[in-house]
Structures are given as structure tokens and as C-alpha cells.
């Protein structure tokens, strides 16, 4: 699931859909005291 989501976001960023300010960073693994999962993440640049 993580790989699929990250791939989607990367394709969009590289495809120029978003502005130059947008950046995509690596998937951060959340730490928690319950089961949790980052479905997607996106860096808007500010």
C-alpha cells in the first residue's frame, strides 16, 4: 500500500501537475502505540 501511494505522488510531481514549490519526500514511517499507516503524504513547500 505504501509503495503504491508513493508512486502515485511521485508521478504527479514529476509530471508537472504541481507547481515548482511542491516537493515530495520519502515515506516517513509513523511510530505509534496503535496500528497506524500513512496512506499518502505530500509536501506543499510551506
Amino acid at each position: 500500500m505504501k509503495v503504491r501511494v508513493v508512486t502515485t505522488v511521485l508521478i504527479l510531481a514529476l509530471g508537472g501537475v504541481v507547481g515548482s514549490a511542491a516537493q515530495v519526500s520519502g515515506q516517513a514511517a509513523p511510530s505509534s502505540d496503535i496500528e497506524s499507516q500513512i496512506l499518502w503524504q505530500f509536501d506543499t513547500g510551506g
Binding site: 507547481g19 496503535i34 497506524s36 499507516q37 510551506g46
Partner: protein, 322 residues
Amino acid sequence: MYTTPAVAGDVVYVGSCAGTFWAFDTQTGEVLWTYDIRDAWGTRVNFHGNPLITDSLIITGCDGSGGGHIFGFAGATGDVLWHHSDERGFPCDLAGWGSNVYAVTISDVLTCYDVNSGEVRWTFTGGPVRDSARWSGSPVIAGRRIFFGPRDGFVYALDVDSGNVIWEREMPAPVTTSIVVDASALMLGTKDGTMHRLDQGTGEILAEIALGARPRWRPLLVDHTLMVLVAGEREIVAVDDSLSGVLWRRQFDHQVMSDRPYLWEGQVLVGDSAGTLWSLSPEDGSVAWTVKLEGALRGIGSADSAIIVGTLGGMVYAVRVR
């Protein structure tokens, strides 16, 4: 990201502190459209107020030292359908009633717009500002009245259609929170560290309770528990809605950066400067769970089963917990 991520169907909208408004697919994070204020207007702005969503539009305000704006965007495309500028802008959460949308400027001018055309229907300006807060709390609507607590030390009840003042109440100190309503009363905090309960019909102060610290930002009412952040943003105080006593207090090691405690599946979510997302019980403030993310957590919302979190640095996370 300061505002609460706003969700309509499969789209989540967020405005960034870098001055861009974003529409994401809630499931994938795909960017559907953006609107960059710097590109369009040449000035840097922040999105501090929560937007208003209608069937086809998303209305949002922004503010900045070089000027601010309120936009009526087509929700599907991001096309600007209407727009107004202001000398400083619109930092407060928007409110809606029928075909009206209400916005407050940094100068504490409350304006009612036609939600579809952006036509100005009426404006209201309170007295001189008496508080040093950067902007006032957000107005709220109940019973065909809009309740507004600008920084002049008064609370006003206005007719939603005409803007006529129904009543006004001078408070012991300037209002420092947004206003929360239940079926018959409104609740708000003032600079002297007190929460107040006012009659919606008359403005009469029905009850007060001293918190020992200045209440701030947007309180959250869950059933009969009213929770509010206090100055310093390292403590949430919960009182009963009749303001007869403090129910619990929850201290945090790090500053709570999400200024609007968010109700999600019966739990209260807040985020702190160290990246911890806290889930608290509204009954006693106990911690149900925590999730650690990167960055200072500010705007918190939800879409289906996912929690959407925006950070001070501009990251947006969609997180699932189970």
C-alpha cells in the same frame, strides 16, 4: 498548514502558509488543482481561516501584510468565480447560512456576501480594537443569528439576513476565543481567564468560570464537555457546559500547535510541536492513543477513515489508525 483540512466528497482542500490553495484526492493524495496567490497577485499570504464548502464552490480567505483576499473557487476546477481584496485580509473561519457567507477581516469588519456571486450584502464594524491579538475569534451562526466577538470587548448578535444588531453585550475583558453554541447558549473565553455562557436570545451572562489561564482559539463542545486551549498552548482545560466546574486538565510537554481541537470518532485530536498526534477522551482527557509524525502538527481534519494532518512546514499526511 494552519487550517482544518476541508473535505467534500473525494476532495480535501488545504491552504498553505506559503500562499497556495490545494485540492487533493482524499484517497491517493493526487493534486487535483492549485491556486498560487503569489503567481496571481504578487504578494505572499497565509491561509489561517477555515473555508466554507457548498455544493459547487469552496470559499476561502487569506491574509498577509501586503493584502489579503477572499475567493469563491469552483470546487471541481479551482476557477475563480468571484473575489474581493482587503487591505490585510480575512484570517477567520468562514461561516455560512443559506446563500450567505460571512467573513471577518483583520480589522474586525464582518461582511456578508452572496455565496454564489460574491456580492456584498451587508457589513458590520464593532468598536475600536481593545486587544493585542492578531485577529478576532471566528463568528458562529445559530437560530438565524450570527454571533460575533471582535476585539472591542463586546459580543454581538446580528440578524443573518439584514446584519441588524439584535443585542450587544459588553464583556469584562476582550473576547479571546471563537464562539461555540449549543441549543440555547453561546460560550466563549475572555482575556481575564474566564469562560462565559451567554443566553442566545438576550446576551445575558448566565454563568462564568475562571480557568486560571487565558482561553484561546476555538473551543470544542462534545456532548456537555467544553474543551479549550489556554495561553501557552500546553494545556487543555475541560469544563462542563453549564460552567459549574472544571472536569479535567491535560498538560502537554510540547506546545499544542493545532488551535482547533478536532472531534474524530468520539475522540479529541490535537497535534503538538514535536509531531505527536494525540487522541484524548473528552470524558476525562485520558490518552487513547498517539501517533508520531514529522513536523509541528497544526491543521487536523478527516476523510472517511483517514485523518488528514497538515504541518507547520507544509507537509500533508493522510493517516489511518485502527
